[in-house]
Symmetry: C2
């Protein structure tokens, strides 16, 4: 196999020093060099100092891969999301990364593109070189997830499987508040613009809408927007307007934003003649009109998830954890009183 260069370098040979070279140069054994880095308290201060001095002079850095092979600790974690480009994820990714960084871990990012097969493939590639994984909005079936969880610490985001640590963004309270808000504004017929059927969040939101609407005597119809995106939201506008409802609550902000664009194209004014509520609050005030939405601090989910992963990795938490993140309604300018004249039915 014989490798004398460190891979890429095309310029100077740039031999990467190994533990043996440091050992020779500082006149100690390989074991001592190893300990100088991983368990310095076992050695004399003097020895540690000398070894480290030589190490920096030679530009030695412990080889993570070799270390991982012998200890089983890789210093890596994996994060798999269903769609990097969905604005819900970037803040979550950022927070997860930050937390991992603080613990000195590197993070692999996987993008399943909503495809279970792809997700499975990614898990397979990652699992051998990470100490733990977090699956955000996983599309994998329960059995697969359970199997992976036996091999490595694993935490789920927005997926509710008993016995597996999970962090759930509980949008039910926010959604309930949204329905209440709409009811108070006089809306009687509303639409739920739904997302992926396999999505836990979608099921949760749909149920919350139904439950709360029933409680208040509102009628609700469901209109799909799949996959959830600006475009599918926009396209749903026609059907929604035709159905005669006066307000809609969308699976997420992107769909809501698309819906508003679709409504504008149909000359339906928001909020004057139609009210729209989003979910996730990832767009801030950047929509026109600013979107009333269920806010969920999704970045926290990333932070908490890797936090839980870490504690599971060290020490191994015994019981299962089901961490709920709260939500609330943020009222901005896309909701208003129901129009006086009903448009159909």
């Amino acid at each position: 196999m014989k490798r004398d260069s460190d891979g890429g370098g095309k310029g100077r040979p740039s031999i990467v020093p190994t533990i043996s070279q440091v050992a020779k140069a500082s006149g100690v054994s390989r074991a001592t060099v190893s300990r100088a880095f991983s368990r310095p308290e076992m050695l004399t201060e003097e020895t540690v100092r000398r070894v480290k001095e030589v190490a920096v002079k030679l530009g030695y850095v412990p080889n993570q891969v070799a270390r991982a092979l012998s200890t089983g600790r890789h210093g890596n974690v994996a994060l798999i999301v269903s769609d990097v480009a969905n604005p819900f994820f970037p803040p979550l990714i950022r927070a997860a990364q930050l937390r991992a960084d603080q613990a000195g871990l590197c993070v692999f990012l996987g993008n399943s593109d909503e495809d279970p097969a792809r997700e499975e493939l990614l898990v397979g590639r990652f699992i051998g070189q990470v100490e733990g994984l977090v699956l955000a909005s996983s599309r994998l079936d329960e059995e697969h997830i359970r199997r992976h969880a036996t091999r490595r610490p694993l935490v789920l985001i927005n997926r509710d499987i008993e016995g597996i640590t999970r962090v759930l963004i509980d949008t039910a309270p926010g959604v309930a508040a949204a329905i209440a808000h709409l009811a108070e504004l006089g809306h009687r017929h509303i639409a739920y613009v739904s997302g992926p059927t396999t999505s836990w969040s979608n099921q949760q939101r749909r149920n919350a809408v139904r439950r709360e609407a029933e409680k208040r005597g509102l009628k609700v119809i469901a209109v799909p927007a799949r996959p959830p995106s600006y475009d599918t939201g926009r396209l749903a506008a026609t059907q929604i307007v035709a159905s005669g409802v006066t307000a809609a609550i969308a699976f997420d902000d992107l769909v809501a934003q698309g819906l508003m664009a679709g409504l504008a194209a149909l000359d339906v004014e928001v909020p004057k003649s139609f009210s729209v509520v989003g979910c996730d609050d990832v767009l801030g005030e950047t929509t026109y009109p600013p979107l009333t939405t269920v806010s969920a601090r999704c970045a926290d989910a990333g932070d908490v998830a890797v936090g839980l992963l870490l504690s599971q990795m060290n020490g191994g938490v015994s019981g299962e954890i089901r961490h709920k993140l709260n939500s609330h309604l943020v009222i901005r300018a896309s909701t208003g009183p129901a129009p006086v004249k009903r448009r159909s039915r």
Copy 2:
């Protein structure tokens, strides 16, 4: 060191089979098992079949880490971006990932948060376990980048360092078209709302604005929005309006969007009394009014970058590559004729 379980599993022991176990179970040597996976053409079809059969029965999967230690090929690449949450990056990340996936590589994602020290730290953590890295909008100084490039194949996105493979989104043509567009609409005084000083993109855009404006006899002032974001864009509105210009071209779409919000808050109508141009085209038509912007297919940058990285990894390209991606102006609804009455001067 003794490790008999595969790390995390707390349920069944779930021993992960090694090459030796497969060897024993199928009655061949470890070398043969190894070859059955990495160089099957060296073996009888019959042998390969038998070994693989046993492997799946045992649930054996080659250990990437061990393989990497002995071959030096890790099957990983790193992608470092300056801000995951900036909408410019997610499409780029997605494309990069897709391309890497097709080559069977895993990708580490790093988020430097615009901080060179953090970026350096990340590179240090990654470099030992990847075969190559791509740095998008790197904030590292040239010397550091050069040094890393001697250790591993490395490609830059939107950073122009001679001798290092780079892909540059050339927004100059689009920016020039934008200036021409504004000039034709009768604007004589415009503002450039600038981004990070260390950003190559910003320098390039600023220069293109200056050059083109001069050519057409427009006056241009520069107003900072740092770090570039919706909020800093919004805050820049006051200063911009006070300066008496009738149009602005922003460092990126986010800043442009913020600026429009700031203008709306000051009761300045877009495009009636002020025109705004963005850059990157990452927001599509989702702004209000839909943003005229310089479009750059930024996802391509991710794809091309890992493509170049791959070819550098295998075979090692000899010469340097400076790949330019073109841009063009997309005219939507945020630009219009200059208002007849000048507001100051």
